[in-house]
Symmetry: C2
Subunit: 477 residues, 2 copies
């Protein structure tokens, strides 16, 4: 990030985040069993200091790194996590300024989020006292999760760095996303919980991720932005080249009131937000689950445009339902080209099957070699952009137990990763309705191979449309 | 069912199904390890006979119950499952007529479903030879699953009888539904896979379930009905008083072609079907998952009308998203009445919480006694029709492990069954993103107490709207 890039933009530079070398946790709480201190210290690669006026010992924490005040720390402190009561917050921020701390997370709440005059005034004073020398995440925020450097605010956060950035006002939303990422097979570059956004706000963080070499996909949970920042947001969006997926909270009447209570956000006019999403080709989703599933689809298969799909089912009826859902969502399930159709026909040998699109495998599913050949052929058809496959989970037990177990499973996995060979999305549905353990086991292996296993067609079909529309608009811009 | 009831209706009486006392499986296949014979014999309470021209022994099957022909069986045969090759089907049906078999399932396929002239002719001939003396399910069908009598076509079908009837052309769809029912906590009275519906068809079965004392909710997967049957269908719908939920296959262009291949069904004009659904207050869903989830909601909470909901979340952000989704779906999240609001306020004691609707519990969630009191209060508000609760699954491990385990879990379950005390739907979302084992374990206990645990808000919110609309229309008819 060079100076020239940012001069026309009203954004605060937080690129030093990529270079945090030391952390202090100010106000670790014995009552909370030193929760935030322990979590920040657990995986962080540099020194983590505890700042506490009286504590001499903290269980499982190096005594040498406990200091009565920030000033007493000998080395530099790049980042501080502040969890002191509101009455001590101003004194604390003063000491951060003195110590040349670059960035703080203010976890303390009851500022503008409380809706009281005192809270609003305290937030203003906090900002003033930081003097633009210390950058603030929060108050009422959880700060930074940055697995590459080992920065985490809760225990058990995944330690593998990824390429997905996430900006959220809500810390709870971040928690759900971070803990859920592993099960989905995705990893984050950075996650920011910025709470009230008094200093560093959504626009600043969006600019940062948009230019962060460690981030390829940007996710946002946004309840609103401050008045007067919309033009700055537009400038940031104009220079952005990465896919942005937004879940906009507070779109309903009561939702917008709740958002105000939650993070003092003004949700704004929905029509304006949707116009903005359209203007800047932002993918707009309806739930946190959709946000994460969209990120996974893009992470596993890149940005794709699906016009013509192959459908592969074991139950003819389920195949019909899938075709209905996909065509209603704007995709087509066309006949295969005649050359591919002829080849496919020769691969079907059981009655009650169909070699047309949608393919109905019926009991031929158990002949896993033919499953591989059929998927390979279907995806080799030039007009086919991807394949959706249905695998009822009740088949897993008899199949995995009665057949040559290892062979069947590994061959099935080889068949289901064929999307990557053809560079076309292949999405298997393994219904959640049965065999949770077997489902879990095979899903894990597939997810490791970057196959986005789903459990319900309505979970991902609307997202295929959204990603395809994004790609189409990219082409037109 | 009295004669008078049916004289004006063109339906075939199959009420004798409730009284099946003996079964024959004709054409058990050694190659398939006597699959259908074993499955029908496993739980059936009366005698199951095997009819095979040459077999003298069948593993784990009583030798005395093997006969070379149907005529050789001494006792009566009420129901026969036929799995002979097409070439033997006519001879077999003749013998069923002679033996006074009341009902057969013809599993054999390649009749009208093959689309060939021979297949169509064979189906006609089969029907003629049955002489209206033997009623036929199929061909190309799997027949009856009837847990009360122990009739099942696949291994491991649940044995607990329930109150949900299901009619489907597709056997594969039936399998997914039947195996999935246990995990969802619902049970079937009867399931019918009627395949091509050459004799007993959708209209007959719908009439039967509509008047079956063992069935309270009727589910249907329908690809189409025969021309000329639409008026009969309307008459059956006119006399029906039970909730009917339909998944209509073949609604898209390609889907209707696939339906024709699958079960020789003419899907018909979508607009006509949707007009019919509206006219007769039928709940129309988009996926098999929605069909089963709708049945569960009605089974657990009866027919409900949700106008005003309480939302209870642990993450304020997730609460905002829920409010948005629910209000977009036509429900309201209104303020509590002032009396309830005052009482609720007194129950909140941690900062960062909100006692308004949507309720934001934050860390107070860990004080399970207050969770109980808060839910109880919210549901006691007269204007509140139900409650949606979000419980991030990542909380389950620390909570269940670090607190007084038993106590926490049992208290949480007591809180989540409060919907039944107030006779108002309470639906908890335990996100699938984490802790699959803990999630599975607590979900099972909740489902036993008739609490419909979900994993994703979009999985059930559209169904709340559909059930509420059904109730409203009921009131107007």
């Amino acid at each position: 990030m060079t100076e020239e890039d940012t001069t026309y933009l009203n954004v605060k530079d937080v690129s030093f985040i990529n270079d945090i070398k030391s952390i202090a946790v100010i106000g670790p709480s014995k009552k909370r069993e030193y929760f935030f201190l322990k979590n920040h210290a657990e995986y962080f690669k540099g020194p983590t200091y505890a700042v506490h006026p009286t504590a001499e010992e903290i269980p499982n924490f190096d005594k040498k790194n406990i200091f009565p005040s920030l000033e007493d720390i000998h080395g530099e402190v790049d980042f501080a996590f502040i969890a002191v009561p509101p009455s001590q917050i101003l004194r604390t921020i003063d000491s951060c300024v003195k110590k040349n701390v670059k960035l703080v997370t203010v976890f303390t709440s009851e500022f503008s989020d409380s809706g009281t005059e005192e809270g609003i005034a305290l937030e203003k004073e906090l900002l003033k006292r930081a003097q633009n020398k210390v950058r603030i995440l929060g108050p009422n925020g959880l700060g930074i999760y940055y697995p590459k450097l080992g920065i985490a605010w809760r225990p058990g956060f995944p330690t593998t760095p990824g390429n997905i950035g996430f900006i959220a006002q809500s810390g709870g939303i971040c928690n759900i996303a971070i803990y859920g990422a592993e099960a989905l097979g995705i990893n984050f570059s950075k996650v920011f919980s910025f709470g009230n956004g008094a200093d560093i706000d959504f626009v600043d963080l969006l600019y940062f991720l948009s230019n962060d070499p460690e981030t390829d996909i940007i996710l946002c949970y946004l309840e609103g932005i401050k008045e007067g920042r919309i033009d700055d947001l537009k400038k940031v969006l104009e220079q952005n080249k990465k896919p942005i997926v937004i879940l906009k909270g507070g779109q309903s009447e009561t939702g917008s009131i709740a958002a105000k209570t939650h993070t003092a956000s003004i949700s704004g006019d929905n029509r304006l937000w949707h116009a903005l999403f359209r203007q800047f080709n932002i993918i707009d989703v309806d739930s946190l689950e959709q946000l994460l599933h969209t990120a996974r689809l893009i992470d596993f298969y890149g940005i794709f445009e699906l016009n013509n799909l192959a459908v592969f089912s074991i139950s003819g009826g389920y195949g019909v339902i899938l075709v209905d859902l996909l065509e209603k969502a704007g995709m087509k399930i066309p006949p295969f080209s005649s050359e591919i159709q002829d080849k496919l026909k020769s691969k079907f040998f059981l009655p009650g099957t169909s070699s047309n699109n949608p393919l109905d495998l019926a009991a031929q599913f158990f002949y896993v070699i033919s499953v591989y050949e059929i998927i390979d052929l279907a995806l080799s058809d030039k007009k086919i952009d991807g394949l959706i496959l249905d695998m009822p989970s009740f088949y897993l037990t008899p199949v995995l137990k009665s057949r040559d177990n290892q062979d069947f499973e590994s061959n099935m996995i080889e068949s289901l990763i064929l999307g990557h060979k053809h560079n076309k999305p292949l999405i298997p549905i393994i219904q959640r309705l049965n065999n949770p353990e077997e489902r879990e086991s095979i899903s894990k292996k597939l997810i490791e191979r970057k196959v986005p296993v789903s459990g319900d067609p309505l979970e991902f079909i609307p997202l295929l449309t959204k990603i395809s529309e994004y790609k189409r608009r990219m082409g037109h811009s």
